[in-house]
Amino acid sequence: MNKLLKKIDGERLLLGLAAPVLAVVTALVVTALVLLASGKEPFQAFNVMLDYGSKADSQIYILNKATTYYLAGIAVALGFRMNLFNIGVDGQYRMAAFFAAVVGAQLHLPGVLHILVIVLVAMLVGAMWAGIAGLLKVTRGVSEVISTIMLNAIATSVIAYLLSPGRLAELDASGNVSTKVIPDSGHLFNIATKGGSLYGFIFVAVIVGIAFWWGLSRTRFGFDLRTAGGSDSAALASGVNVKRMVVTAMLLSGAIAGLVGMPELLNNSYQYSLNFPTGIGFTGISVALLGRNNPIGVAIGALLWAFIERATGHLEFAGYDKEIAGVVQGVIVLAVVIAYELVRRYGLRRQQSRVGRQLAAQAVPSKNQEVSA
């Protein structure tokens, strides 16, 4: 019996890995075909990518970027876990980072406290912005997909309005508009390496990942959340207050989304300006899909994503089109979605027939052996 369990576990692991591997391989093949079709040699390109992507400064770059993507991925994954499509991580983190930057620049507090306040403001703003979508869903039945997309646009407008000289920002000499710089006490530590500085926020991301895993798999709340995600009706019958769960999950997702802008804000730019990175929320969706909403999977997805961006960024230098990055990423997401569904169905069918077989084997051990021998 024990041996049997292990076998199923092993197979589950294998099936779990099958989908992303399948997806990445498919993406590579399609990319190779695209490169071939455009008259370029694909293996040279892959070679350049690998070579460049593994350099020390590339690694730091990848880790730094992956930190951001990971947080975005976890924010999205939390929603996904209960069947909520938080498309609005993008708007949430931008609002959060903007207000955190504004507040952070006004404060003069001792180091840790200063950083803590900034991070808290970001999480609160993110949660609030996402919470609007949650409330609309439970009170008015508005699909969170629609409302979060709209909230993204609203966030853009709100920030554009406030981020202008004379309001909450100022015009600097270089022609950029930015909030005031956060004083030194609000800067998070960077780790100096030969490849550049590694953002200290990576540790926060790791903690978020662990908290995500523990919270979902080891707490009542997490169980309720997964139940609501697995089956609305079963959740209702089992006593989960589904409406409250929707709001709570959106708030949490938004709070994590609020952290997305923090590595950039606390470790690099120390202010919110016109060139504050955008669109990370959407990357987060891809990364969450790629990582199957699993904290480790999302980490791998985030690293892969950052690697692709880093490595393809250099492809242009080597004479390839930089759009290859988009092709690879697009194909991966498509392939992942398809591969997961295929593997999931295959796994379920396989398990069903396996259970049947084992039950039959238990029932008539002697006879069955003769027959199947």
Binding site: L5, I8, S217, D224, G230, A234, G239, A360, V364, S372
Partner: protein
């Protein structure tokens, strides 16, 4: 392998019943015949020709069609659209298709209206559409997977008339059922499957239900009847003046439950009979706190829980075996041990102070699996991979594991084989001896009569009649279920006459 040495021969123009316990391999056999799964060895011969069925499309091409237990219809499409969906090439989607449907419907007495939206149809109508879908695709052999599980006695009769019609037109029907009386009444031949192999082929005229059941289980059967009363006079659940109205899809405010009141005492099983859709599901959900009634009170063990959340009610000691276990009682893609936590996440041994205790939950799942004879290779398989009966045993085991004061059991043995059925009955009886109150809702009148201490009949959202299970007959109950009789059902003929006036006064 789930099946080995299956030998079955079905003659054309007959209704051939296939009976066996859950997990005996009926579904696997059907999947093989319908091309959804491939056999490791052995052959299938259709009309004297050896065939290999790789996909359902192959099976359909050979004239084999399947009516699944769970209907596969799109609610928001009309009957016509549902039928032609995926078979547009046969007769198009317009007038020709409509004519073809009419023709089939008339030929077999299916009485199908092509332009009605499926969401407005009842279960029996939906089933007829499923049958029509299969016939429309040219099937000459129909496989029906537990078709009567969802029907009331009158509907079952209508279905059997349809099947006889099909048979007389030369079609072949393979019929899977647990209800042995039905099998005996409609089948021309019966094959019994036990543990993956065919153990007997019998002629329905030569066996009775009990013999058939014993063939299925391979041993002597327990009886569902117990008559020693354990009813006390301590009220456990009191429902008073419950009223619930809801807006139906047509936008009309409809009263679903009206002035419902009853009391279940410790050690009492209250059975509620009724044709499905007369408010039983809503009643259960109102007691569980899943629906908010307009008014009325629910009192459990002296405490008013009318405003309590579902979770609070569960913690207060309500065990719940829902009607639709896939929708309400299981996380199909989660492992068994997580399903064991479902609904009781706040209780020991599943968690303590908000933190789950997976190790304890797993241990307790092992215990339930052993005690309730859940046939599974382990507690890490998904709930979806268990057969219906074993899923149900797990659910009953789980609900009984938290010492409930009240068990709400809606169709607890639906789709469950005789062996498991007997076990579930035993569990309910035993708990009742220990002072449990049970609200039993069932479409199986024998089960209701056999288990209940008190019977009530529900019709159009009201409790219209009551009966003493020791004297009432299924026929009497049946007529009350259709609204033909009201009041106390002791002396059927006379009572029906007495209550006729009452009916008119209380009428809608």
């Amino acid at each position: 392998m789930a099946n080995h040495d299956i030998d079955i021969t079905v003659s054309r123009g007959t209704v051939h019943a296939l009976v066996g316990e859950n997990g005996a391999g009926k579904s696997t056999l059907m999947k093989i015949l319908y091309g959804m799964q491939r056999p490791d060895e052995g052959t299938i011969t259709v009309n004297g020709e050896r065939v290999e069925l790789h996909t359902p499309a192959d099976a359909i091409a050979r004239g084999i069609g399947m009516v699944h237990q769970h209907f596969m219809l799109a609610d928001n499409l009309t009957v016509l659209e549902n039928v032609v969906l995926g078979a547009e090439r046969l007769h198009g989607i317009g007038g020709r298709a409509r004519n073809a449907i009419k023709k089939i419907s008339d030929a077999y007495g299916l009485d199908v209206r092509p332009d009605v939206l499926v969401e407005h149809l009842g279960v029996a109508d939906r089933q007829r559409i499923e049958i029509l879908k299969v016939l429309y695709r040219g099937a000459r052999t129909l496989i029906l997977d537990e078709p009567t599980a969802v029907l009331v006695p009158q509907e079952v009769e209508a279905l059997f008339d349809n099947l006889r019609e099909l048979k007389s037109e030369g079609l072949t029907v393979i019929f899977i059922s647990h209800k042995l009386d039905e099998v005996l009444s409609v089948a021309d031949a019966i094959t019994v499957i036990r543990r993956g192999t065919t153990v007997a082929s019998v002629n329905p005229r030569e066996v009775n239900a009990r013999q058939l059941a014993e063939l299925m289980v391979g041993s002597e059967l327990p009886s569902p009847e117990t008559r020693e009363s354990t009813v006390t006079d301590v009220p456990m659940l009191t429902v008073d003046g419950l009223r619930l109205s809801e807006i139906d899809p047509d936008g009309i405010d409809r009263v679903v439950l009206d002035s419902i009141g009853f009391t279940i005492h410790k050690g009492e099983v209250l059975g509620i009979a009724g044709v499905e859709g007369n408010g039983q599901a809503e009643l259960v959900e109102a007691i569980m706190g899943m629906r908010k009634p307009d008014n009325g009170t629910v009192t459990l063990d002296g405490k008013d829980i009318s405003q309590a959340l579902t979770r609070t009610r569960r913690e207060a000691g309500i065990g719940y075996v829902p009607e639709d276990r896939h929708r309400h009682a299981l996380l199909l893609e989660a492992p068994l041990w997580e399903n064991r936590i479902l609904g009781h996440v706040t209780e020991q041994p599943n968690s303590r102070r908000g933190i789950l205790n997976p190790a304890a939950a797993r241990r307790d799942t092992e215990r339930i699996v052993a005690e309730y004879d859940v046939r599974t290779p382990g507690i890490d398989v998904t709930a979806a991979s268990l057969s219906g009966g074993n899923q149900q045993k797990l659910i009953v085991g789980r609900e009984m594991s938290h010492n409930p004061k009240l068990l709400i059991a809606a169709h607890p043995t639906r789709g469950v084989d005789v062996g498991a059925q007997a076990q579930i009955w035993d569990q309910i009886r035993e708990a009742r001896r220990e002072g449990l109150a049970v609200l039993l809702i069932s479409a199986d009148l024998d089960e209701l009569i056999g288990l209940s201490d008190t019977l009530r009949v529900m019709y159009r959202g009201r409790l219209v009649a009551d009966a003493d299970p020791s004297t009432v007959t299924p026929e009497e109950l049946g007529s009350a279920m259709t609204g033909a009789a009201r009041g106390h059902l002791e002396h059927p003929a006379q009572d029906a006459a007495d209550t006729a006036d009452e009916t008119d006064q209380a009428g809608e």
